[in-house]
């Protein structure tokens, strides 16, 4: 490869890096800026001196800790629910031939939910949950999140089960094991990596979710981090410091989760259409 071509490539890489990474840098810097420098014109490129005041303020208001906790509980809860129920269902769809062409219909339905705009479900879900007194509760949010986590888990796990050759389970059944035993002792351990990857995906999806949380929460009893961030945009001013600090807190755990799940990232993103 010629020198100019190589340097062109690095130049392009640099341009991409600037575009995609600078805003993230800016978020971090803003979160660390002392309040006076937030409104400096022209903006300062580096906080001088960096301060943790915004993070402290958020924690002091009890808001940040509470919101992060709610986000975590809801994400974990709905992931667990979707994982347990969905993995069983996925196994069934993968292994058993069901009457009424259920295999086909359920698969079709699950794929199509990937296309649905959430706003379509939120109106009826809100009214239904309200009848059960589940608005502004973490439990209600967990159930609502299952609406998109469950189809995802079923589809992903079905893919992983489909990739597993059946001979091991078949021989177990012939030896007298029950279907559930074959599932638990043979199939499940073999799909553990896929299970973990799917779980992490659900965690990311639930942690980032905004619209459902906006509608279904009212007070700190259930408010999640994304809604808390949006609420910093008040009528009179935008609390940039608080918003940036909350943004950093919302972002950092996800980065580590994403690193863990890197190997299966493409598969998860495309619902298995492209095996990355």
């Amino acid at each position: 490869m010629t020198r100019t071509r190589l340097s062109l490539r690095y130049a392009a890489l640099g341009a991409f890096a600037l575009f995609f990474l600078f805003p993230l840098y800016w978020l971090g810097v803003t979160a660390l800026k002392p309040p006076a420098q937030l409104f400096a014109q022209p903006p300062t490129w580096w906080p001088d001196p960096p301060t943790l005041a915004h993070f402290r303020d958020l924690l002091a208001g009890a808001a940040l800790g509470r919101l992060a906790w709610n986000s975590a509980v809801v994400a974990l809860g709905s992931t667990l629910l979707a994982l347990v129920v969905g993995t069983l269902g996925a196994y069934s769809l993968s292994r058993f031939s069901l009457p009424l062409r259920l295999n086909h219909h359920v698969s079709f339905w699950i794929l199509s939910t990937r296309a649905f705009p959430p706003i379509i479900s939120i109106v009826p879900l809100f009214l239904i949950l309200r009848q059960f007194g589940l608005v502004d509760t973490r439990l209600g949010l967990v159930l609502a999140y299952a609406a998109f986590n469950l189809p995802f888990v079923v589809w992903m796990m079905k893919g992983f089960f489909d990739d597993l050759p059946r001979e091991l389970e078949e021989s177990a059944l012939v030896d007298g094991d029950t279907p559930f035993g074959a599932f638990r002792r043979i199939a499940l351990p073999l799909v553990r990596p896929g299970l973990a990857a799917t779980a992490l995906f659900c965690l990311i999806l639930s942690w980032n979710e905004f619209l459902f949380a906006l509608v279904l929460t009212q007070t700190e009893a259930a408010l999640t981090l994304p809604v808390g961030i949006a609420n910093q945009v008040t009528q009179y001013e935008i609390r940039w410091g608080a918003m940036s600090a909350a943004g950093v807190v919302a972002m950092v755990p996800l980065f580590f989760v994403a690193l863990l799940v890197q190997r299966h990232l493409v598969r998860g993103l495309t619902y298995g259409a492209v095996k990355g």
């Binding site: 995609f20 803003t30 990937r114 649905f116 489909d162 007298g176 029950t178 619209l211 961030i229 492209v274």
Partner: protein, 303 residues
């Protein structure tokens, strides 16, 4: 992708109850799915035939749908959503392809770059909105500051406040956030292409552009299709970023269809009309998803 499932071994099912195991496995899942995804649609259908007010409901027949036809705001929002979708899709595809090709070639530190470029996609869309709102601020933002530093007059550049530019500004935010998505998928697609066609082309003395056009692009087509289709679904449902960036303003310039439905339901408390609007949106996405499903149920290729 559908293979023949396990035939139920006769010896294992001498006992009662074993034949029902598939249903035990499936029942909770099916019930939950029905409750959370099917039932709400029926509820929605019923809602759309009523006029909901906080005081109660009144049967309205197809009045909500009739109103939809003449609702200028709805069509405007729909049109804007489509314009937004198309522009963002094009940009994300071109940039994503460029980045994928770049990181597929000989560049040092590829896996590090791949991990770094993931970030915009991983963070909550709300946070992306926050970041860019900060950047776009005409007085405090880094964009105008940088332009001023380069000698431009930024007094008329208000980005999110300028009705003729606001939608483009929101497009940029989406491109920033989701190009990594396209990039990742296309990179995976590139990595799945075997070496043989390239070797043959090299032997034939084919130039880089020809190689790209006749070998890379066709073999990448399935991945491209998946990426574009998935992005289309997500662009049609755009809500989070617009909510933070502009709330649909200035003067309705960035109102998307999801935002319009949301406001109708939760600010005007007109659930009936919101339900009718939702159905139109549902119809459009179902039509599109038909293509998506066909794509996924093809016999598997090299991917």
């Amino acid at each position: 992708m559908e293979r023949r499932p396990v035939p139920l071994a006769p010896t294992a099912f001498g006992h009662r109850g074993h034949a029902l195991f598939p249903y035990f496995f499936l029942a909770p899942c099916l019930l939950l799915l029905l409750a959370l995804t099917v039932y709400p649609l029926f509820y929605l259908a019923r809602l759309s035939l009523y006029r909901m007010t906080p005081e109660g409901e009144a049967f309205a027949g197809l009045a909500n749908f009739a109103r939809l036809v003449t609702d200028g705001f709805f069509w405007r929002a729909l049109g804007q959503t489509l314009v937004f979708t198309f522009s963002a899709l094009t940009l994300e595809f071109l940039l994503g392809l460029a980045l994928a090709l770049l990181l597929h070639s000989q560049i040092r530190g590829r896996s590090l770059w791949r991990a770094l470029f993931l970030l915009p996609m991983i963070l909550p869309p709300v946070v992306a909105g926050v970041i860019w709102r900060l950047i776009y601020n005409p007085n405090l933002g880094v964009l105008n500051a940088a332009l001023q530093g380069l000698g431009f007059d930024t007094s008329r550049l208000t980005w999110l406040a300028d009705p003729s530019v606001a939608l483009a500004a929101v497009v940029v935010v989406d491109v920033w956030e989701w190009t990594p998505f396209v990039f990742l998928i296309l990179l995976a697609g590139l990595q799945a292409i075997p070496e043989e066609p390239y070797e043959a082309a090299r032997i034939d003395g084919s130039g880089p552009w020809q190689t790209f056009r006749h070998i890379t692009l066709p073999l990448l087509a399935p991945a491209i299709l998946v990426a574009l289709l998935l992005r289309t679904f997500d662009l049609l449902r755009l809500f989070d970023q617009v909510f933070i960036l502009t709330q649909g303003g200035p003067g309705f310039a960035t109102e998307t269809i999801s935002l319009y439905i949301y406001k109708t339901a939760f600010r005007f408390y007109d659930f009936g009309y919101a339900a009718a609007l939702s159905f139109v949106l549902l119809g459009a996405t179902l039509a599109l998803s038909h293509f998506y499903i066909r794509l996924l149920q093809r016999p598997e290729r090299t991917a």
